[in-house]
Symmetry: C2
């Protein structure tokens, strides 16, 4: 079951400049930042209702996020859906011949599990699936 939009990820060249709009002008609040060296990104989370905006700044030049920024410029990168059972969701997608980027759930921060679905199978949207650890 799909529970919520966990976050919308937005690629930014710098967190500070992006926060001038999202926090300064619009009035959202930065709840926390995380550095994820393994993915070459620094991220900032701004809660909105039961969801979040996730600002992602590349910290290397060779990550997927860095290449996206260079090729397409800043903007929305992916949509993350929280599911109650990521293995069951992935099995269901495979039954429908949907192409997954990650064949197995990946271990993320704080015990969460995640996997990406290929935009070729979704109509151009990079979709991330998330199962949080407290389930």
């Amino acid at each position: 079951m799909i529970k919520s939009i966990n976050h919308i990820a937005i690629i930014v060249p710098e967190l500070e400049g992006a926060l001038d709009f999202w926090e300064g002008a619009l009035g959202l609040k930065l709840a926390r930042t995380e550095s994820v060296p393994s993915e070459g990104v620094e991220v900032g989370f701004l809660p909105v209702g039961d969801s979040n905006l996730e600002l992602m700044k590349p910290t290397t030049t060779d990550s997927g996020v860095a290449r996206f920024l260079e090729k397409r410029g800043p903007g929305i990168h992916h949509l993350c859906l929280e599911v109650d059972d990521i293995e069951a969701t992935m099995a269901r997608l495979r039954e429908h011949n949907i192409q997954l980027i990650n064949e197995q759930p990946q271990a993320g921060h704080g015990g969460r599990q995640y996997a990406f679905v290929h935009p070729k199978s979704t109509g151009g949207v990079l979709v991330e699936l998330y199962q949080l650890s407290d389930q």
Copy 2:
């Protein structure tokens, strides 16, 4: 105040084909469709938590949505934030020199008011503001 992500709008060439993924494979449910001839789109809404995915299919060849589809292909088009007071939010954005696409709130379906913020001022994200009618 920003209350929630009201919807994420996704441009699709055909609703039926897009629903094969979002409804058939992923298990979301199409709650309703709307035809909006003034904007040249047919839209379908799929609730997710306290938000929605909004699938937008162009019905003419000369709308902004049709041009986006032709130029960039299908994918995420804009992010819509529900606010409690759209006039106050727009005034605040102007104070921060944020460029608005609509200088006044526009009247939408069911009494809602909306306005778009220019992606030049947001870091590449087309942002829509929404005030629902029951406030």
